[in-house]
Amino acid sequence: MSHIKQFLLGALSLFGLLIFSAQPALARTLSPGELRKMGVYFVTPTNFSTSVEGSADGSGACYELALPKANDLAAFANAIDTYLTANAPAGSPFQGLGADFVQGAVRRDINPMFVIGNLRVESNYGTAGGTDPATLQYKLQENFNAFGRTAGSSQSKFTHNGRDWYVYPSWKESINSIEPGRGDTPDQPALMRAVYLDQGKLTIGQYIGKYAPGTDGNDESAYGRSMKDTISKIVALAGDALSCTDAETVITPTPRTGPR
């Protein structure tokens, strides 16, 4: 009887040890690639924490691509969340990611309101995928690409009609990525920094002139109005969280010549 007791006790200990050692494997978060292999697409894995606090000493301009001067980053993030709640479809995967917009953009010295303006026009805040798996928009959504971004030969991509399109690991990481090994532009703010800001594209007009040029069938004026509208609404919601030097119109008269 005592042998049986000892055996049961030993077996129980061994089982406990097994469960304990298996904990890390059970707790491991599946990678986006693993999720996709399982057929899971429309999720936003949160594989790193997001938090914003304090201030950011930006350029001062709110209607330019460079990071504006933010007195309170957390309040700025809240203003973005409020904007998205009021303006983006309820099903937008970017709802509630205000802190990610701010964190990702601050990391690259980029204006997060430009990122949101892009999202609005490019994909209705990540909701324009539709239901037809054969379409480009569906595939873009399936691959968390809400910006219509194309891919270089060495980048993570899918192909549609002979063109390569960028694949992001998740919605969150399309705007706020710290993943190493994805090149210099792993998220939209990084792309904006490297391809636009660092090449002198600062104003809305300059940015759209390259991002969505009229020669490519775009209405730059319509695009610009939407971008400006997005920024204007967020600036109003942010209040004192932002110090915008360009939140006012300043007009100086042109001196007249000739006799008085």
């Binding site: 324009a128 194309t150 490519d216 775009n218 939407s226 109003a236 006012e248």
Partner: protein, 188 residues
């Protein structure tokens, strides 16, 4: 007694000089006669600040500032400075106008004049109140400027635009207010 008389005369003279200076100063100063103020200012109004004298034709003012910003142009007409917004202002919003260095034709001057007002509510049609609308491959949104923005996300863009325009036409939106952007092309 003589000393007392002299003191009284002197006092009267001093008072007279002071009164004369005050009157002279008032006559030479430039005053604001009217400006946008209070609440309920129409978002489509021309913002006019009228002064007590005709303004200098060559250098009527040094700076015109409007907060928050709005696209538009300033015109000087006789005794007034007018700001004509290119599009409507935002409804239910506090605005501030500051004009600096205003000079009249006769050389009178105001260094700085600030005017605060609040716009009234926008009169939106029931259709405008129903925006934004998300359609099949497009969205329709109302911009702060009063434009109605149609964003087309997928092909065939011609069909999507026609569907959006049909909705706008049924909603009574004039063509000149509509802006269309087709975003089905690639970005880099």
């Amino acid at each position: 007694m003589k000393t007392k008389k002299i003191i009284i005369i002197n006092a009267v003279l001093v008072v007279a000089v002071i009164v004369s200076l005050v009157i002279n100063s008032a006559a030479n100063s430039l005053r604001v006669v009217s400006s946008p103020n209070g609440s309920g200012v129409s978002p489509t109004a021309i913002l006019k600040i009228a002064f007590s004298n005709e303004l200098d034709s060559q250098s009527p003012y040094q700076r015109f500032i409007l907060r928050p910003q709005a696209e538009g142009a300033v015109q000087v007409k006789g005794d007034s400075i007018e700001f004509r917004p290119l599009f409507r202002l935002v409804g239910n919003t506090d605005y501030k106008i500051i004009v600096e260095g205003v000079r009249s034709a006769s050389g009178k001057y105001i260094e700085r004049s600030a005017h605060s007002f609040k716009t009234g509510s926008l009169k939106l049609s029931s259709f405008e109140q129903s925006l934004p609308i998300s359609g099949d491959g497009f969205s329709i949104e109302l911009l702060e400027t009063g434009h109605v923005s149609v964003l087309i996300f997928s092909s065939p863009t011609g069909e999507k635009e026609a569907a959006a325009r049909k909705i706008l036409s049924d909603g009574g939106v004039a063509d000149e207010r509509i802006t269309v952007e087709k975003t089905s092309s690639s970005r880099y």
